[in-house]
Every structure is written in C-alpha cells, then in structure tokens.
Symmetry: D5
Subunit: 149 residues, 10 copies
Amino acid sequence: MTEMTKEDVTAMILSAKKQAGLTWEGIAEKIDMSPVWTHSACMGMNAFPPAKAEALTKALGLPQEAASVLAESPTKIWEQTVPTDPCIYRFYEIVGVYGPTLKALIQEKFGDGIMSAIDFDMQVTRVEHPKGDRVKVEMSGKYLGYNSW
Amino acid sequence: MTEMTKEDVTAMILSAKKQAGLTWEGIAEKIDMSPVWTHSACMGMNAFPPAKAEALTKALGLPQEAASVLAESPTKIWEQTVPTDPCIYRFYEIVGVYGPTLKALIQEKFGDGIMSAIDFDMQVTRVEHPKGDRVKVEMSGKYLGYNSW
Amino acid sequence: MTEMTKEDVTAMILSAKKQAGLTWEGIAEKIDMSPVWTHSACMGMNAFPPAKAEALTKALGLPQEAASVLAESPTKIWEQTVPTDPCIYRFYEIVGVYGPTLKALIQEKFGDGIMSAIDFDMQVTRVEHPKGDRVKVEMSGKYLGYNSW
Amino acid sequence: MTEMTKEDVTAMILSAKKQAGLTWEGIAEKIDMSPVWTHSACMGMNAFPPAKAEALTKALGLPQEAASVLAESPTKIWEQTVPTDPCIYRFYEIVGVYGPTLKALIQEKFGDGIMSAIDFDMQVTRVEHPKGDRVKVEMSGKYLGYNSW
Amino acid sequence: MTEMTKEDVTAMILSAKKQAGLTWEGIAEKIDMSPVWTHSACMGMNAFPPAKAEALTKALGLPQEAASVLAESPTKIWEQTVPTDPCIYRFYEIVGVYGPTLKALIQEKFGDGIMSAIDFDMQVTRVEHPKGDRVKVEMSGKYLGYNSW
Amino acid sequence: MTEMTKEDVTAMILSAKKQAGLTWEGIAEKIDMSPVWTHSACMGMNAFPPAKAEALTKALGLPQEAASVLAESPTKIWEQTVPTDPCIYRFYEIVGVYGPTLKALIQEKFGDGIMSAIDFDMQVTRVEHPKGDRVKVEMSGKYLGYNSW
Amino acid sequence: MTEMTKEDVTAMILSAKKQAGLTWEGIAEKIDMSPVWTHSACMGMNAFPPAKAEALTKALGLPQEAASVLAESPTKIWEQTVPTDPCIYRFYEIVGVYGPTLKALIQEKFGDGIMSAIDFDMQVTRVEHPKGDRVKVEMSGKYLGYNSW
Amino acid sequence: MTEMTKEDVTAMILSAKKQAGLTWEGIAEKIDMSPVWTHSACMGMNAFPPAKAEALTKALGLPQEAASVLAESPTKIWEQTVPTDPCIYRFYEIVGVYGPTLKALIQEKFGDGIMSAIDFDMQVTRVEHPKGDRVKVEMSGKYLGYNSW
Amino acid sequence: MTEMTKEDVTAMILSAKKQAGLTWEGIAEKIDMSPVWTHSACMGMNAFPPAKAEALTKALGLPQEAASVLAESPTKIWEQTVPTDPCIYRFYEIVGVYGPTLKALIQEKFGDGIMSAIDFDMQVTRVEHPKGDRVKVEMSGKYLGYNSW
Amino acid sequence: MTEMTKEDVTAMILSAKKQAGLTWEGIAEKIDMSPVWTHSACMGMNAFPPAKAEALTKALGLPQEAASVLAESPTKIWEQTVPTDPCIYRFYEIVGVYGPTLKALIQEKFGDGIMSAIDFDMQVTRVEHPKGDRVKVEMSGKYLGYNSW
C-alpha cells in the first residue's frame, strides 16, 4: 500500500473545489488564512500548520489522512528555470529588469542585506482603474542584514 | 569619435552621485520621479521621458549629450538566467515558489490573462516592525485579458 | 476517479477530427472563430470562451464535461527552448535574425514599448505566386508603451 | 592595418543617422528598400545587394570601403537563446505558444513542408485603433515541401 | 480507444523487419524509394507519400490503419542537443569543424544563401578502399538565395 | 614580444585574399589542395602539412613566420552548441533529423561502428538543375568498427 | 507482443548475477572476454560478437532470444552532460584538467591527430601500495592522423 | 605595476620552448618530472613544487619572478562543459560510455569508493603496432573508500 | 519478478518511520550511526555497512531482502544542477559565495590540495541563541594534497 | 577619470599581501575579524563594516579611497553554475549528495524552515589526525521558519 502524497492531496482539493464551485478566496476564508498562502499550500509548495490542515480537510471533506500530508514540509521544486507561461513569465521579467533596482533601494534604506523570502507574506488584489483595472501585488519580507564576524 | 553610450552615462551618474553624497531617493526627488523608476532608468534599463532626462542632466551636472542618451529606448539584457546575488535571487525564488499562485489568483479575480510588466509601476518602502523592520514591495500592473478571435 | 484534463480533450478532438474527416478551417467555421485560435485552444494553449467551448463540444460530439475543460485557463508550457521541428524552427530563426529590427521599427513608429502577445491575433493564409505559393502570416498586437512613474 | 568590419559600419550608420536626424523609414526610402530589410542589413544581419550598398554609402556619407563591407555575406549570430528584451521576447513567446498552430495550418493548406525564412519578407506597420493603436507584422515566405526520394 | 501513433507503427515495422530478416535496403527496394528516406520515414521523421505508405503497409503486412499514420506530417523532435552516440556525434563534429567552411564555399559558388534541408536528398554508400572501406555520404539540397526587399 | 597566433594569420589571409581578389577555389588551386581543406586550415581549424604551409605563405605573400603557425595543430573550438547562422544550422538540422538514419545504414552496410571524422574528406560542388541549382556535399570517411576485447 | 529490449536483457543479467553470486570478472572469464568489455556490453553500451552473445546467454541461463538482442548495435546515450556520481565525476574531472595535456602529448609523439575511442580497449586493475592500494586504468586506442586533401 | 600571472608565465614558456626547439618530453627531462605533469603545470593547471619551479625557470631562462608564480596553487577552470576539440572529446566520450563500467569494476575490486583524481598520476606512451601505432594512457589513483559514521 | 530497488526500500523506510512515529535521530540511535549518515543511506545516497543494513532491517521490520539492497553501492544522482528548494539552495549559495574562500584557506593551512568529500563526515545540531536558535553544520574531511610526479 | 572598483582593490590587496609575506590569517588578526570573512570581503564578495575597511586600508598601506570601496555592498556573482576547481567542486558535491539530508534534519530539529546564509558565519580549521590531518568546516546560520499568513 503506497502512502498518500502531496500530489494526491492536491488533486483531491482541485476536484473538491470544482465540484463545490468554490474559489481560492472562498476556501481561504473557511480556514481563516490568506488566499495566496492557501493556494500555495494546497499546491504542495508550503506546509499547513496542523490546525489549518485539519480545518481544510474538514471544510473540503477530504479523507483524514490528508491532514497530516498537508502539514508535511514540502520540497519546493520548479522545473522551468525560465517559466514559459506568460502570466508567470512577466514576474520573471520584472525580476530581470528591476532586480538590481530592488537591491540598490533595499541597500539604501536598510544597509547591506536582503529581503527574506521565508519570513515573507504576499497579497494579490484587484484595483479598479478607469483605463483598465490593475493587479496589485504586495510583498513584505523581513530585512536580514549580512553578518560579519 | 565614438558615440556616448548608456553605459557611459550610467558611470557618470554613479560618479556624480558618489561625489555629491546623494541617495537614489534624493535624485528621484530632484526630478520628481519615483526612486524605482529613477534608478532603473539611470542603470540603462528604462528610457527617461525627454524632460526628465534634461532635468537629471542638469541636476547632476552631466554633459548635455547625456540627456539624449538617457531618453533612448534601451535593449534590456540580463546575463544571468538565474541571478546569483542573494538579494536578487530571493525575488527569483518568490517567482518560482509563488508563480503558479499569482497566476491562479489573477485568473480568479480577472479571468484568463496576465498582469502587464510594461504598463507597470513599483514601490519599495521600509516598514517598521518590532521583530525587525520589513521590506515592502508593491507592484501594480494593468490586467490584460487574452484576446480570442 | 480522475478529472478530465486538457490533454484528454485534445486527444478526443484529434480523434473526432480524423473520423469526421474535418480540417481545422472547417472546425473553426463551425464555431465561428478563426483557425489559428481554434487550433491553439484545441491544443490546450488557450481557453475557449464558454459559449465557444459549448459549441465545439456539440459540433464534434464530445462528452459534456469537455466544455468546462476547454474553458479553463491553461498553463502554457513548451518544453523545447529552441524548437527542433523545421517548420517551427524557421519562426524561431526569424525572431533571432529580425528581433532587433522588429524592436527598432516598433520604437520608431510608436515610442518605447512593445507589441502585446496577449491582446493579439494572427492569421495564416496561402497566397498564390507564379514562382511557388507563399505562406502569409499576419500578426496584430496592441502597442503597449512603457509606463514611467 | 585592420580591415573595416560590419560592426564598424553599423557604428558609422548609427552615428550618421543620429547626426542627420533620420529615421529607418527615411533611410530605407533613400535607397528604395523596405525599412525591415534596411535596418536588418545595416545591423549586419543581411547583405546588401551591391548597388544598394553603394546607394546607402552615398546617402549617409560613409567612407567608400563601407560599400563592399555592406555587401558581404554576414554570419548571423544571436547570443541569447531566449531573448530578454521584452519587445523581442514577446515574439519568442508567440513562437512558443503558436508554433504548433502555425505548423498545423501550413500543413493543412499546403502539405508537409515549411515556410521559408530565406525566400522571405516582412513588413511592420502601425494600424490605428480606437482602443489603442496596433502593431501589424506581415511575414511572407515561400512554401517549401519536403522532398521524398 | 486510443489512436495508433507513429511510435506504434515504428515498433511494428521493426518487429516485422526482424521476423522477416529484411534490411533497410531491401525494404526500400520493395517500395521503390531510397534507403535513407525509407528508414527516416519508418522512424517517424518524415511523412510517406500516400501510395508509398500503402505499399509499405502491404509489403510488411502491417494493419491497414498504419498507412494513414505513415502519411501524416510528423513533428520532428530530437532530444539531445549534442548527440552522445559516437556514430551520430561524428556528424555533429563535422558540422562544428566544417560549418563555416560549408558556408564560405556555398557563398563563393552561389551567393548569399543556404542549402535547403527540405528540398534535400541524401545517399549513403560503401566504397571499397585498400586501407579500409569508406563510408560515402552524398547530400544534395536546393540552393536558396536570401531575398532582399 | 607576443607570438603570432592562428587568429593573426587568418586575418592576414582574409586581407590578402580581398586585396588580390582571390577565391577560396583559386587559393586552393595555387597550393594544389581542395577548397574545403584549404578554407578550413586557413580558418585555423586544421593544420597545413609544412610544405603546403610554405606554399600558401608564398602564394599570398604572408610573412615567413606564418608558415610555422599554419602548420601547428589547432585546438578546434566552436562556441555555439547549436549554430545560429541559417546556412550552418541547416546542416545541424540534417544531423538531428537524419542522424539515426545515418547510423542505421552504416551499421547495415558495415557492422557496429562509425564513419571517421578524422580520416575524412569532403567536397562541395554546384550542380545545375532546371528547377534551381543544387548544392552537392560529398563526405567520405573511413569506417571504424568497434573493438571488442 | 513487444520485442525484448536491451534494457530487459540488462535486468535479466543483473538478476542472474545476483542469484548466482557472480562477479563481473567471473562472468567475463566464462565467456573469455575482458571485464571492462563484458560489463559495458551487458549494460547495453556495446554489441557482443554473436558467439559471445551465445556464450553469455548459456552461461547465465538467459532465454534464447537474449542472444540476438545482445548482438545488436546499441545507441549509446548518457543523460548527464556532467556526471554527478563521485566515482564517475572524478574521470570527468581528469578530462577537464588533463585534456589539453593529453592532446599536447599525443601531438608531440604522433603528429596532428587523436586517440581513437572506437578501436580502443581498457583495463582496470588493483595495485597494492603501502600507503593505500591504487586503481590502475589503462587505455589503449589507435592513433588516427587527420587527413588532408 | 601589475603582478605576473600564470597566463603570462605560460606564454613565456611556450615562446621559450618554440625558440629553443624543445619538446615537452625534453623539458620534463631537464627538471626530472614526467611529461604529463610538466605540461599540465606549465599550462597553469597544477602548482610546481618550489624546487621544480626554480629548475624550470633556470632551464628555460625565464625571469626570476616566474618561479614563485609557477609554485602558486592554481584555480582549475575549464570553460567547455563538453569539450569540442576532437582529441579531447574522445576522452569525454570514453567517460560517457565507460563511466558506469569503471564504477562497477572499482566497486567490485575495492568496495564502495572512488579512484582519487588528486593522489593521481598519468602516463602517455606510444606503442608500436603492425596495424597502426597506438596511444597508451595509464592512470593511477589512490582508492578512497566512503566513510560511514 | 523484478528485483527490489533502493527506491523501494526508501519508500518502505519512510512508511515504517511514519507509522512508528520515529525520528531520523531515533532511527540512527537504534543502529548506532549518526543521523546524517543514516538519513543519507536510507535515501539511497550511501551504502550501509552490511551489519548496519541488517540492524536497520530488523529495527524497522523491513523484509529480509532489504538488507542486501541497503548495502549495495548506489549511483549518486541529483537532477537539479541548481537546487530550487530554499533550504538546499542556501547551501548552494554558500558554496558560490564562499567557495574561493574555502579554497584559499585550505591552501594556506595545508598546501595545494582539497578536502575529501569521500573520507568525510558531517553533523547537524541545534544551538540555542537568545536572538533565535541557530543551525550548526560541522563538516570534516581528510586533506588530500595534489600528487606531483 | 574612472572610479576605483572592488576588482582594483582586490588586486592591491593581493599585491600588498605578497610583498609583505602575509597570510589571510595574519591579515584577519590585524583587523580583528575572522579569516573567512576577511578573505571573502577582500575578494569583493562581502562589504566591510566602515571601521574595518579603514583598519585594513591602514594595515596594508592601501590608498585612502580603498576604504570606501571596501565598505560598498557588492553584487555577488559567480560565473560557473557547477564549479570546476576540484577544491570547490567537492563542496558542490556535498550539497548535491547531502542537501536532502541537511533539509530533513533541519526540519526534524526546528520545523519547516531553513538555515540562513545571511545571518551566517563559518570557520575553517586544521585538525590533526594520525591517518592524515583533516579540514574542519563549521557553519552556523540562524534558523528561519516559514511564515504562514
């Protein structure tokens, strides 16, 4: 008997979501987490805190074993060094074009260091605009200064 | 006689900035543009509107020819497919980990399409926090829906 | 029970097309869309508007579930960074040889910006010619000027 | 004494163009060639027919030796397998997304073969549009059917 | 029920060839085509003209459906950018070492252009030689001159 | 004082060839070697036999030191894993499409082994043809059977 | 019914070897071939001479069909451009560090040419040594001089 | 004043070797080291023991500073992941084809471990053979067993 | 009947570990090995000494055949040249940033040589710290000096 | 007049170190920092705190301008995705072989997170050992747990 994997649970979630006609925003609300985190952890790219894993399992009617799988630390793998999907590529392009600018301004405002991608959160919102609505992405990460020793 | 290039002007700007003890924020203020845009265009990754190119040239005491160079359309080239500098890499990592999430939420909120990286702006700010100050990055891009025909 | 995927529906379409002796042009006509769009969406590289997904499902006698699959946003993935098929490679070669030229002329005619690949359409036609008929490819994309802020 | 190279002549053309305030369209008109071809050959990606090389040399006041250099067969090299400049990348993306569609429709209309990228021409035009002007790119290449023997 | 693919037909041909003790030269003779073409099309890298597809299907006793599969346009894919098999690598090496020479001599004899790989044929023969027999490969492709416009 | 390099000699040859209005075929004749070999060795991709190096040096009026440089064993380097120049790419494409066929026929005619790319020669000729002249490339390499021990 | 492949036969050999408690050296002795060749051909990287294929089939009690499979010419494929296994990587490293040295000494001793990897054999032996036993690898390949023509 | 580099010293050695008409074997003899080591260290891929560095400096009449440069630890860099020169490529091919065999036999004779590429030596010799002389390469490296802890 | 593979045994271990609620530290203790080694060998990246393989098999209640599989020499393969998982990437980054420093200090303290990755061990411990606990990684490898000969 | 760069200062440091016969350990002592940090920052891979930059400048007699350059935030770039130098490669190999183990043990001891490579320090020491001295590398980095939100 093979163990249930993160891929199995992702497939169950997508199926339950479709059948129940839910949105990611709706699912996130049910477990009182943000939509970005919820989607990412459902895709197996983050580990749910145990209580949230339980809550999601109940909310979507998944088998009990799914809760422990959702709480496991994933190995984060992406297979395309340069993403081909246009929606994702545009973010890669932003890093290519504005990466040195992000670095220069972080250093100007904080000193020699980085923005953490671990102690990190992100929001995506829709902003109305007369010339066409806009996607707003807000990232927030803890500043970490390089150690010297 | 060789033409002045964007690289030449970038070197002049960095030198003038150092001698005058300016910050990117300070330079941006002088020409009434945002620091992100100002740095990016000074690095030769964006083209200044002609009036801003003139303003920058005066503000930093660059030779007159620099203004027309700053206003030229650049060819945006980055040489590292995967950036090695840790500060820039963290943003690449965010795209790798959260790219599919960004895509899913944009589609949930808008339909099948992307966030433009052209009709786009970005801010970087320092946010105080008791457990360590945080870097806040705000991106805003126009939603573009796929055409069907 | 596993969900029906875009790959499944593509296989059904190819099978139905072969058995009915249809062409892509013929299928496109049945649903009143262009052949380029129709083929691309049937291959799972674009999402059909729901009404068109319904129309295609009926026209080819696909199972009802196929319609919702055809209307889902796809993740656009191509696996060959440099395509090997000679017919596709020739277009890659055109981008390699004429890419800087396309950029220079777009900037000359419009300013600093790009041709959108999202608000975009394309036609392929056969043009008779005494020295051998020619393939005509017409692309049209909205001009998007870089924002400055 | 080193020979004049294509790179040297390209630099001279760019300098003469800037000083005379010319456009590519204007230069093309002077030598009665299309702007796409003219730009491409000035960049050293195509060889001018000798008479056109002479005409360009005169029109821009280049040294006489430039004419023979402009008429030499270039070795066409591009260094980025995936172009990073957003304006050029969008065309790469179109090949990635629509490459299999272009192939399928060429085969449906002509048989098993390709569109030549050698016996080929291209136009770029600006098309007015109430929702924003559009870039129109028209490619035309001779159909070449695979030989069987 | 899944469609018969080119891979399926290739496997059938290899099996029939082995059981009947045939050579590629023998199979080619039966359908009055060259061995190079015949092998290539049997491997799914070229499309048989319909009459030849029928002839092959009969000659090898393949199921009737195979004929239409053999006549379909293939997508030509090779997975190794640099081939590892020594017999194939040597040809890659020849292109690496002599590629610029082939280009220079084609241009000297014809003008600025290429040898077509589409309107193309090839023969492989064994040539006796006192110091060890030699492989002779003869390629013939139509010269295509670059268009200027 | 730096040594004369193969690159230096190649530049001298190209300059002398241009000034004397010679062709590769003409140069090859002067030293009684084939044009393919002559071009390749002039480009620094092969080593001239000492007598031929002397003959070339005299025929083109190169400095005496050039002869010993032309006779040195070169390190054969090509920088593009996949060549971008269309004329050279077509040969790469032929290896990709027909590589397995070349292997299969060499094995059918000789046994398990390869065609040598070292004990090797090649000719390029122009063949008149009513539908457009053709490039003929003839390669001949010694068959080498795998050793077993 | 699918054909037996080289992979199938390799699996059978490994299984038989394990059950009979044999070594590669022992298997090689049974068929009077060297251990290097025997292992390589059992892995499907070389073709056994028919008599040896028969001998191995009998010695290990493989099904009769295995003999003809073992005698087929393999396509030699390795999937890692840079091998990751430390034992294999060290040999890659030796080629990287000493490759130019091997080339220089072969040229000094023989002239412009190579050591054949086809007319080639290799031995691996254990050499006792007071400071720790040593692996001895002996390669022998026919010198092939470049042809000039 | 810039420091003398390993590249500078390599150039001096090559020049001195050419003017004195020496071979690598001859140079090696003068300093009582093997030709493989001597060439490798002269190329800057290994560090001479100080006494040997002195001896070489005297033997070739290099400036005194060269001795300390020859004794420095080099950073071993090779730029081609897959070497293109045919003489070096053949060794890469041997690692690709026989790498798993080398590993299997080392493990059979020694246990789980590797052949060191550091505590390592190599010889190249010419072996006469009636069917054509052969290159013999002998490598010897200390066996290192994996630690378990 | 197919042989049990290292992958099979890894899956059994993970399943037994989960059901018994064990930690790697706990498993390591049971067989009196370190946690780093134990995890690595359970993942199939190292070979257990036979007695330890037996002990593990008993401790976790695996089938008897597992013991011999655990003792086999693995082929160490990793598929991502640059690891994407953030926890593993940080170590890759450390090698990129501090690699030349590690080399310089090893040479200063020992001479021209390396730290062995074969005669090697490693510990991971948690160190309490008022500003946040720290991960301590201790590596120890035998110094190996380059041979000269 | 061009600005002094980090490369310039690195060259000055190496020259001063050689002339003064210093070691990295000795230089580090003079400025009361660790040797790992000191070397890394001298190589331009880290930024010295201003006081340490001043101290180093005085200790080595560098021009005053060097101090401000040493204190600038560097862009950390390494050019070899897989390092070729054997001493550095061994650390890359350790990450490849033990990366998943490091991840598993960090998660077992701390939870879902990483070891920081920013709030990080490292020591290299020589440890005497009867069977050959050993290199000891100690890394210490702050544990960072993934945020959930």
